[in-house]
């Protein structure tokens, strides 16, 4: 839920990384955290299990430079990938301004992608939202996997609507910033209606 504070002159937006378990959502945020200068990022908060699986969410606030006296902040969240944490996933979607779907390109995880996408649709419905009205970007992660499905095929099967999509190897940073830039700009455009 974007919030404009005219007094402190701040604009706050919320971006959620969604997708199947072990798909690389946390890796995306960690890469952003590692690469950005200290003055632009806040603390990276991770609520994870002992096995480093996201239990509730990861959270990273980013701050852009001041434009016309306004500070723009993006709050990045990830959801837990495992289905049995669905209650947590749903909570994180509240007030979302933009969604990145981090898909696992490997053939072995194809069904997990479908399941996560379906689950995203279902959870959004509970907030009376749909992907048609929220900025949405897909990231085909793990392009380096030996059994990675060709992107054309992935788009055909999982992205018939033709949402903007990027190839990535998040663990090496490939495609991470391209994806984030795209969703951040879409969120910004959504804020400004003609």
């Amino acid at each position: 839920m974007s919030l404009i504070n005219y007094s402190s002159r701040e604009i706050n937006c919320k971006v959620v990384y969604y997708g199947p378990g072990l798909g690389g959502k946390t890796t995306n945020i960690q890469y952003v955290y590692e690469k950005l200068a200290p003055e632009t990022k806040g603390k990276l908060v991770t609520l994870a299990t002992e096995m480093d699986r996201t239990l509730f969410f990861d959270f990273l606030p980013l701050e852009l430079g001041e434009v016309k006296g306004f500070k723009t902040r993006f709050h990045l969240y990830t959801v837990p990938g495992q289905v049995y944490y669905n209650a947590s996933r749903k909570l994180i979607l509240r007030g979302v301004d933009g969604i990145v779907f981090v898909a696992d390109s490997s053939e072995a995880r194809f069904d997990a992608n479908i399941e996560a996408l379906y689950n995203l649709h279902e959870n959004l419905k509970e907030y009376n939202l749909s992907l048609d009205e929220i900025p949405f970007v897909i990231q085909w992660n793990k392009r380096d996997m030996p059994d990675a499905i060709p992107v054309d095929e992935l788009n055909q099967e999982l992205n018939p609507e033709g949402y903007e999509n990027f190839e990535a190897v998040a663990v090496n940073g490939v495609g991470v910033f391209d994806t984030l830039k795209c969703v951040a700009k879409q969120v910004l455009r959504q804020l400004q209606t003609a």
Binding site: L3, Y6, L47, F59, L64, A184, L191
Partner: protein, 165 residues
């Protein structure tokens, strides 16, 4: 024109701040803040804190959301207030209109009873301010013009330079 979910205008900000300041003093608390349901910080009052406030706000919202779901599971509509007790510092959280959450940090220089009493009064006042603010959003759009096409282009350029590999 901007299509933000909601906005805080100057006069509301100060009205909120007055309530928070009054609460801080009258309850003898250490720090108070107001956040929205998604964890965005609206306003704060008290001395500078050593921890990361943005993360703290985000976790408070998550805390409230998780407890809201717990309430539903046991057949309650809501838990309107939450209390976390620590050895030195404690937290008291209360739900205001439109899912806004009031967070109070306090230590042994006050009592839970006093905090609870003063929070109740502050919550009623804040309820009124937030409700009125939402009504105002229905018709007050002119200030939204501050964020126009040139603003968007400049922020986009910021995004490009910040998120460059």
């Amino acid at each position: 024109m901007v299509r933000a979910e909601w906005a805080i205008f100057e006069e509301d900000y100060w009205a909120i701040n007055n309530v928070l300041e009054d609460l801080l003093k009258s309850s003898r608390s250490g720090f108070v803040m107001l956040i929205d349901r998604t964890g965005q910080l609206i306003s704060q009052c008290g001395p500078d804190v050593e921890f990361d406030l943005t993360s703290f706000a985000s976790l408070c919202a998550a805390d409230f959301e998780a407890n809201y779901q717990l309430a539903k599971l046991i057949g309650e509509k809501d838990f309107s207030t939450l209390f976390h007790q620590g050895a030195q510092d404690s937290m008291y959280l209360g739900k205001i209109a439109k899912g806004v959450v009031l967070v109070v940090l306090f230590n042994k220089s006050t009592t839970l009873g006093l905090v609870r009493l003063r929070v109740k009064r502050a919550m009623e006042e804040l309820d009124g301010i937030i409700e009125a603010l939402y009504e105002k959003l229905e018709y007050r759009n002119e200030e939204y013009d501050a964020i126009d096409e040139s603003f968007t282009l400049e922020v986009e350029a910021e995004i490009d330079s910040l998120f460059a590999d």
